[in-house]
Structure formats: C-alpha cells, structure tokens
Amino acid sequence: MSIKAFHDRRRLVAAVAAAAVLSAAMTLAAPTAKSAAGRSVEERIQALQSDRQIRELLEEYGHRFDTLDLAGYSHLFSAKGTWNGNFGGSYVTATGPAEVLAMMMRVLGKPQYDARKVAGFHLMTNFLIRVEGDHATSFSRWTYFIRDKDNDLTPSLAGHYEDKLIREQGQWKFLERRVFKDIPND
C-alpha cells in the first residue's frame, strides 16, 4: 500500500467513524427531545407513572384499613404527613406514621382481621389526580359498606378525601389527607 493510499483509507475510516458517532448521538438523543408542550418524553412518562402510583396509594390505604394492617397503613404517610378529620367522636390531626398509628389504635383497639368474618370495606372511586413533579393533589370518594346484623351487605357511610401527596425516595406518600364524611350528615 502506498503512503497516499494509506492516508486516503485513514480519511475514509475517519469519515465513517464520524458518521457512526453522529448517528448514534441522534438515535440516543431522540427520546429526550422536548415535545411541543415543552416536556421531555422522560417527564411525560414519569407523570403517567406517578398518576398510576398515586391511584395505587389511594387504593392501598383502603386495603390496609380494611385488613386492619394499621402499621402498614400508617407508613403510607410521609414523616410530616398529616391525617385530618373526625374519627372516634372528635376532630383529630395526627402527624407522621407514629401518631397516625396511635390514633388508629386508640379508636379501633388492636383488632384482628378475620378474612371469613369481614365486617366492612371501603370502595375507593372517582380519583381526580393532578401531578406536578414530586408533588400532587387528589380528590377521591370513599363509600363504606358493612355486614349488618342480619348478615346483609349494606352501604353505611360515604365521604371524600382531599389529599396532598409527595414523592420521597421514589415513593408517593400522603403529605396531607383531609377526610370528609358526607352521608349521613352530622
């Protein structure tokens, strides 16, 4: 191979390498391209995932309540998260998992869940969630059904929640839950 041909080949290799780097950069950069609304694909997917995780949090709250997993229930709250509402005959504000757990045990005692003798459950519906990065707000409805003294399924209480939520270490938690009972009226 002549020296000229060697240099020509080097130039060709350099051009191909440059093209490969450019095409790789374009391919990798594409998913983070900003949309017309100014949000990246990553941000939009995160918002959808956050919405899904908050829905699960709202339902998990009901599940842990209904199965009397009170410790698990209390850990759905952020360290500074508050539970606010009428419970056990008076208006209560409990802050953080330890206070929320203490409040539940004060009103409910230390009940044991028996899957064959379910006393009641919460239907969680009408989720209206607004996500703003690591913060969110939500409205939702709860309808509480009980097994009455004749062993019949009976709607008993209904209300709604107004929540503020926060994402901590990748997990959505309650920052403020305000619990409203709508029917029966007090």
Binding site: K4, L12, A19, S23, T143, L157, P184
Partner: protein, 188 residues
C-alpha cells in the same frame, strides 16, 4: 495526486457521511415502529396514554361538578356543539346544557358541603382513543341521603360518550346517560 482526484475523494467522504445520516434517521423511525409491531410511534403511544388519562379525569370531573352543583364548570366540559341526552331531557352546547340543568335544578337548595344530599359513584371506565376523537362507556351509581339521614343507593345507569379534542382539551362531543335500574319502563 491531482486536485480533481482529491476533490473526488472528498465527495466520496461527504456521500458516506450523508448516507449515514439518512440511514440513522430511518433507523430512528424503524426503532420506534419495531417496538409496536409497526403500529405507531413512541410519541403516538405516549400521547394515547396521556389522552386516556385526560379523558378519565374528564369523566370524574363531570361527576364532581355535578355533585357540587358547579353547573357552569359542568357545562364547560362540553364541546361547542356537544350534546347531552338523559333522564331530564336533551340539550346542545355549553349554554344550552347550562340552561337545561338550571331549569331541572331550579328547586334544589344550593350545595352545602355540610349537608350533602347525594353523589355519583363513577366506575367501569372503558376508553378508546383514536387521534383527536375518542369514545367511552362507564357506569354511574347514584347514592342519596334518605329522609332519616341514611346512605342509600338510589339509581344506576351508564354513559355512552364521544369526545373531541378542542383547543388542546378533551371535551364531551356527545353524552347519553341512560337509567338502567330502576328500569325506565317501570317508572311511574
């Protein structure tokens, strides 16, 4: 090497670079399509998920505005030529729908959050998005407070909806709200 041979070489390099750029652009498209079996791009799939979420919120917002008697907010959930048809009649456009509701609820006392009389449970959402249009069906169960202050299921039915994206926001194009139980035929 003559200068014409040199410039030919550079034309070859430029051509290689150009081909690589075009190929990478094509690959980008192929990559997005490959994941969906050639159905739609990543952007289209993401948009569809966002649209479903926005429509789910619209379905719930409707119930929220109705239950809190925010009739103006409720009427604005409809497209300019959007229609509503159900137990209290039918109407078209936000103004027409607002007038229909104001007439139907003229005798109802104003909403009092401490004296809630009723609410809609909204469930069973089935949403199909197709570009700037969509359809959905869902169920509504209406609970009320009885005269002796008890919670009672009162009426149940479903919604058949079509939607349109208007100025970037999803709106009801048509909503039909039939009663299922009690049966309309049994109503006195």
């Amino acid at each position: 090497m003559t200068s014409s041979v040199k410039s030919r070489k550079w034309i070859v390099y430029a051509a290689v670079l150009g081909i690589a750029v075009v190929a990478s652009s094509a690959l980008l498209g192929l990559r997005a399509q490959a994941a969906t079996g050639g159905k739609s791009s990543l952007e289209e799939r993401l948009q569809k998920l966002e649209d479903e979420q926005a429509i789910r919120n619209l379905l719930v917002e409707y119930g929220h505005d109705l239950d809190t008697q925010d009739l103006v907010g409720y009427s604005k959930l409809f497209a300019k030529d959007g229609t509503w048809k159900g137990g209290i009649g039918s109407a078209q456009g936000p103004e027409g729908i607002l007038a229909m509701l104001q007439k139907a609820m003229a005798k109802a006392p104003p909403f009092d959050p401490n004296k809630v009389r009723s609410f809609h449970l909204l469930t069973n959402f089935f949403i199909v998005v197709d570009g700037d249009k969509a359809t959905a069906r869902s169920k509504w169960t209406f609970f009320r407070r009885t005269d002796d202050n008890k919670l009672a299921p009162s009426l149940a039915g479903h919604y058949d909806d079509t939607f349109v994206r208007e100025d970037g926001k999803w709106k009801f194009k048509s909503r039909v709200a039939p009663h299922d139980i009690p049966n309309p035929t049994d109503e006195k």
